[in-house]
């Protein structure tokens, strides 16, 4: 199998289910286990595979977590543009994602906290006061329908017959 195709297949399998074992992957794509192991460790080393995490529906688990998307307008800095402030914001553990986007604002930040008040205070105290931040708009998330390609409340599956010839 071509190197690129092999890497692509492995990434696809792990993206779908990060708990697939090396031996299963080896079987699925028809190469030996050692080759899978070395390819994966290479992908990890290169930072292509960043981490293996579970996608959790906390709402369902009954653990209340409040999330908000924060739009930030920034003044870029002379030498580093948006990078230094974006990196600075990224360091807060309350911040779950930071993305530079085109359009009416510059950064889109996802923040998580236990209560609305906690999130609001975090934005007011830690983000808004930053020198490069010109203004912020906070959108509290009300319900998640789909995340990372996974639909949370799966539509009713049409039932296949157990036997069709």
């Amino acid at each position: 199998m071509k190197e690129e195709r092999k890497e692509g297949e492995i990434l696809k399998i792990l993206e779908e289910d990060a708990r697939t074992s090396d031996s299963e992957i080896a079987r699925m794509i028809g190469v030996d286990e050692e080759e899978v192991r070395s390819t994966i460790s290479e992908l990890e080393k290169q930072g292509i595979i960043i981490k293996y995490k579970a996608l959790i529906n906390y709402e369902k688990a009954g653990m209340k977590a409040v999330q908000a998307l924060i739009e930030l307008n920034l003044s870029p800095e002379r030498s580093t543009g948006y990078d230094s402030v974006a990196e600075r914001i990224s360091k807060f553990s309350e911040v779950k994602s930071v993305r530079l986007v085109s359009g009416e604002y510059d950064l889109l930040v996802r923040v998580e906290g236990e209560t609305m008040r906690e999130v609001a205070y975090f934005v007011a105290e830690k983000i808004a006061p930053l020198e490069q931040v010109r203004n912020t708009v906070t959108h509290f998330l009300l319900k998640t329908y789909k995340e990372n390609g996974e639909i949370y409340e799966e539509e009713e599956k049409g039932k296949r017959l157990a036997v069709t010839l």
Partner: protein, 386 residues
Amino acid sequence: MTLIADRVGQIKSSGIREFFDIAQRMEDAISLGVGEPDFVTPWSIREACIFSLEKGYTSYTSNWGLLELREMLSEKLHHDDSVYYDPEGELLITTGVSEAFDLALRAIINPGDEVIIHEPSYVSYKPCALFAGGIPVSIETEVGDEFKLRADRIEDKITEKTKAIVLNYPNNPTGATLTKKDLEQIADVANEHDLLVISDEIYGKLTYDGEHTCFSTLNGMKERTILLNGFSKAYAMTGWRIGYAAGNKDIIEAMMKIHQYTMLCTPITAQMAAVEALRCDDETAEMVYEYNRRRRLMVEGLRELGLSCFEPKGAFYTFPSIANTGLTSAEFAKRLLFEHKVVVIPGSVFGDCGEGFIRCSYAVSQYELKEALNRLGRFLVTCGVK
């Protein structure tokens, strides 16, 4: 008065039906007995169908099917398989390949004409030949020869009554494929003995090793081939019932005549959805990779459990031998269902030479596949295998 016509009465209802009824009703069984993709139809196709209903597309269409759909199909066949069919006269949209197969036989068979059918094979072929007044002539294919239909075996069966050969590769239930060279040898026989070939290529896109060769592309075969295909497997559209037949003008015209008086046209809603399916073609490749991964998982898994398993090169079925269990395939399937809640199809359903095999579909999620293999493993231990 005999209630039922002889033509129908002669077809015995399969003894396995009762088992299938139980399997259908058993709630928590894992089914490897499925003959359809485990995805629902892609949303863009469903959405296009809903939109067509909103716009009021609810009428009959041309008996031939929507011209737009035939034109797109013609282009697709030309692009994918380098074979050209005129959308006006050489292509007929049908209610699934099932209808197309029936039309093809009824269009060409005179009473007593013989139709060569390789086995193990899909369950409809023989009955349809009989319904059409023909005589099915079986050729058994063997696992030792990768379940291939061989040209010389066909020649052995040819009589002056032989009218057509039915070909279904990639094959249901074995997953076998034929190489271009294998097919060319069959084409030579068809030419030499002036035979038609009904080629059911519904699994053509699901080929994992090498390329699928469309039978019509072989030298001189376009005129002799009735090419059947559809949307069920490649676009996960089984319940929509939509397929097509392509062939020479006279035969397609004759098929249309029957279709016109019996079916009138394929439901417009399915046709509108099929138009969208042809527009969003690029998902097939990813689907083939996914099936291929499951295929390998299943074949290796079955072998590890101690079953000898032919390596399927197409479709989404494995056809392992269960000879070493000492059970018939029907017994095997029944016990596996009752004792371990896994549904498989006894190979005997697909012809006498399917005895000693079971058909396991890998059109199931990887989770179900692995769990089914676990249960099968436990069952095999009780059978004394491994």
